[in-house]
Amino acid sequence: MFVPFDSTMLLAILPEILLVVLAGVVLALDAAWQPEKRRWLGWLTVVGLAVAFILTATVSQPESEPRLLFGGMLRDDWLSFAFRLVFLFGAAITTLFAMDHEALGRKGEFYVLLLVSTLGMNLMASAGDLIMLYLAIETTSIPLYILAGFITTDDKSTEAGFKYLLFGAMTSAVMLYGFSLLYGFSGETNLYLLAGKLGELPMPALLGSLLLVLVGFSFKVSAVPFHFWAPDVYEGAPTPVAGFLSTASKAAGFAVLMRVLLAAFPAALPSWQGLIALLAVVTMTVGNLLALAQTNVKRLLAFSSIAHAGYILIGVVAVNAAGMNLGMASVVFYLIAYLLTNLAAFGAVATFGRVSGSDEMDAYKGLSRRSPALALVMLVAFLSLSGMPPFGGFIAKVFVFAAAVEANWIWLAVIGVLNSIIGLYYYLTLLKYVYLYRQDNLEEEQKPLPISRPYALALVLLVIGIILLGTAFNPWFEWSRTAAASLF
């Protein structure tokens, strides 16, 4: 399993190398350039990420057999490959959304922090060792704390950053304690070697340390009861950052969750399945019910993002030890679909908020008359979130539920579909504002709503992606399956 160092290892971490180089260049240019030229840093970041995406997809594909690199610190397999592409894409889209955001786009630091956080996520997805995993999680989180509080002149943003920091620090401490227990029990830090040693442990010790580790992951994916940060942070953080937090960061959390559960804890499979099932039910239900009462779109999306974490957890539950069923593949597919969909939703909110300065639902009244194109994007994004065909969100939900049904967790699937009706209700509520209601003052509807070029580019890309995922889903699903199968 372990491979001695050779130059192909560098190829395997090519995306990470490129990210570091890009971050360095952007940082240096930020220092060198005059402030008015700094918007170009955004385009530089986008182009750099696109190049990294293409190079990763073509050059650094993993070999057919999964390998452990650098003394077992990293694992080179299709799962990490798939997730790294997802993160690079998410970061590029987020950059496009941030470019014309007055408080973000003119600051080189923003792009650097985003890149470093993406670097951390890449490492999270490929970490094969507890130490690497912890470092990767921190590399991801620390820039995100700063990004959430990036607008220092805005109290809400500062509050978001600080809250996120406190929650993150606390849960990461608990998780680290779990890691140290695992090491203490087994004397191993490598996830794949851990499995063999942990199998001999008594169940209470195993589950106890698993529980501690789960605290950290639940925070990352915003599962109940570690979700309290999400609404405040999403509301306060700059909208592009909130979009990034709810998609890429969540996907990274799930990548880690899947790998740790399956690589290190196969021995406790039935026990943690029950635990995760419980987590899934609570997360979906709480997220959806609380979302019903929201009047602020960003808070609504925060609760919806909690609920979606619940749906994804259904897929995690529905795994079997052989790994050849739908469970893991459906999780990967769901995360891809959710990334596209939620980025589109946050992108539309960012576009609208930039012009109108409000994220309250009331401000969205009559949007379909004010800007039919933006309304259409919101329609696609929110219908996909609610799981309506022919959009990616529908297929993703169906796969997750199918995985549960296939693995005989039918009651979980039933709770899932019932929850999706609640979800539908509040997504429809927002669409009601966009399409059905009129502004009290009809002149409001005449005001122009410009969509600048980066926004337009990103939104078009995302909408095409959502529809592709929902109609031509075969290759994507095949891809997810390959990725999921490489976990074992």
Binding site: L326, R369, M388, A402, S420, Y425, L428, L436, N474
Partner: protein
């Protein structure tokens, strides 16, 4: 790919292409938008006539291509046109252009979006009737919801938003359990293809059959709608714009009854047999309840809406008679209801356009000022009542015959009688007659409420504000004409229609 298969794909997606073409027209050019939509709908109708021309009742026109196959998942792009679906497809493609024609002057706001949603809706409906893959079927089934939501929500009446949300949530709530059920079937038997599942239906354990039947039935019963799940219907109908009501009553409700016919009866025959008396009971309650509530209405549109509950009760009764006559009658009655109720909604819409009210009290004596309208309304009402010689009679009569001779219903009746231990209840051998008898009361009620409506609108004293009403325009007459022709045709010479559907029904019942 052979010609028929190509036509199947074309007929399904032609409206969607038309909807895309609308995006090329500027929103201000309202007439151009209307023409594009109308031509698209007419072309679709033409294609469906082409399908009819090459249709052979004994054999289905089919297209079956793999769509997704991984890990024991086999989703196919599988459409088929057979005797069960052909009339419904034709009904859909016929009603859509007529409905578009009816909006010519009544929809002025956001014409482009209206037409786009309307054509998307048509694709969804055709897909539902044609899909032979459960997964594909579900996609189309859900796909119809969104356009209808917006048609009601944007262009509807005063309480449109409430009605739209209610419509959406009701239908969605029903269909999610169906999703779980069909996922179970798909993962258990590694296929979503309906013919393949039917071939394996003997392997479905009885208890699973019961649950699956209920999960599918809930989705379809809400759509039909069966009593007591009908409460979304009056709201949706009353608030929807005329064209929306026509399609809602004419086609969307048939998706429910068609679902029962296509999936419940074929996939779960044992469960269908067991549930048939209960379904028939609910159907009869629906027939009588719908009729009585109709009688009490003062709003013409609401009256027609509740009459749908009653009429679809007949369809359900026919289906769950589980014999050849019953199902034939039910299928024919689906078409009849689409024609008659579609026409009724169109005419109520025309009245509303003239007077901006639908209250029955506001009218009276219209016969004198607008005789053409009066004549046509009489014909349509009588067709809905089920007057011999018009289409409604053929359908309802066949259904009643089917119910009276039904083994499933008769058996159930006998069991009840035996269980009660009463020997003096007559006609133990033909228990289905009791079901038919109660249902027949519905026909009498129908005459009462529809003729009452006609009387209040067209007869009696003329009110001053109605003096200057204009009679129907040529466009309006053209809109109604195809429906009237079919009303008479089916009423007087139903054989060609029955010939189209009978082989498929016989095959389904295993004759």
């Amino acid at each position: 790919m052979d010609f028929g298969a190509l036509l199947l794909t074309l007929v399904t997606f032609a409206p969607l292409l038309g909807a895309a073409a609308l995006l090329l027209v500027k929103p201000e050019q309202k007439n151009a938008l209307r023409w594009v939509a109308l031509i698209t709908a007419l072309v679709t109708f033409g294609i469906s006539l082409g399908l009819l021309a090459i249709f052979n009742p004994a054999d289905a026109i089919r297209i079956d291509l793999p769509w997704l196959s991984v890990a024991g998942w086999n989703v196919h792009y599988h459409l088929a046109l057979d005797g069960l679906s052909i009339l419904l497809v034709l009904l859909t493609t016929l009603l859509t252009p007529l409905a578009i024609l009816s909006t010519w002057t009544s929809v002025e706001d956001r014409v482009r979006q209206f037409m786009a949603f309307f054509l998307m809706l048509e694709t969804g409906m055709l897909g539902v009737f044609l899909a032979q893959d459960l997964f594909l079927f579900y996609i189309f089934w859900e796909f119809t919801l969104v356009p209808m939501y917006f048609l009601i929500g944007i262009w509807g009446g005063e309480r449109r938003i409430y009605a739209a949300v209610k419509f959406f949530l009701y239908t969605m709530a029903g269909s999610v359990l169906m999703l779980v059920a069909l996922l179970w079937l798909g993962t258990q038997y590694n296929t979503f293809s309906l013919p393949e599942l039917i071939a394996q239906r003997a392997n479905i354990p009885p208890q699973a059959q019961t649950w699956l039947f209920l999960a599918f039935a809930l989705a379809f019963a809400i759509k039909v709608p069966m009593w007591p799940l009908h409460t979304w219907l009056p709201d949706a109908h009353v608030e929807a714009p005329t064209a929306g009501s026509v399609i809602l009553a004419g086609v969307l409700l048939k998706m429910g009854t068609y679902g029962f016919l296509r999936f419940n009866l074929t996939l779960f025959p044992q469960a269908s047999w067991e549930f048939s008396p209960w379904m028939a009971l609910l159907a009869i309650i629906g027939i009588l309840y719908g009729a009585l509530v109709s009688y009490a209405q003062t709003d013409a549109k609401k009256l027609v809406a509740y009459s749908s509950v009653s009429h679809l009760g007949f369809v359900m009764l026919g289906l769950f008679a589980l014999n050849q006559q019953g199902i034939q009658g039910a299928l024919l009655q689906m078409i009849n209801h689409g024609l008659s109720t579609g026409a009724l909604f169109l005419m109520v819409g025309m009245l509303y356009e003239r007077r901006h009210t639908r209250a029955l009290d506001a009218f009276g004596g219209l016969w004198k000022v607008i005789p053409v309208f009066g004549t046509l309304l009489l014909i349509v009402s009588l067709s809905s009542v089920g007057l011999p010689g018009l289409n409604g009679f053929i359908g309802e009569f066949t259904i009643l015959l089917g119910a009276a001779g039904s083994d499933a219903l008769g058996n159930a009746w006998n069991q009840i009688v035996t269980a009660l231990g009463v020997s003096f209840i007559p006609m133990r051998s033909a228990g289905g007659l009791w079901f038919a008898g109660f249902a027949a009361l519905g026909v009498i009620f129908a005459a009462a409420y529809l003729l009452q409506m006609y009387q209040k609108i067209c007869l009696g004293a003329l009110k001053a504000e109605n003096q200057n009403l204009k009679d129907l325009s040529w466009r309006e007459i053209i809109t109604l004409l195809p429906l009237l022709v079919l009303i008479f045709w089916i009423g007087l010479y139903p054989k060609p229609f029955i010939d189209l559907i009978a082989p498929a029904i016989n095959q389904m019942l295993g004759y």
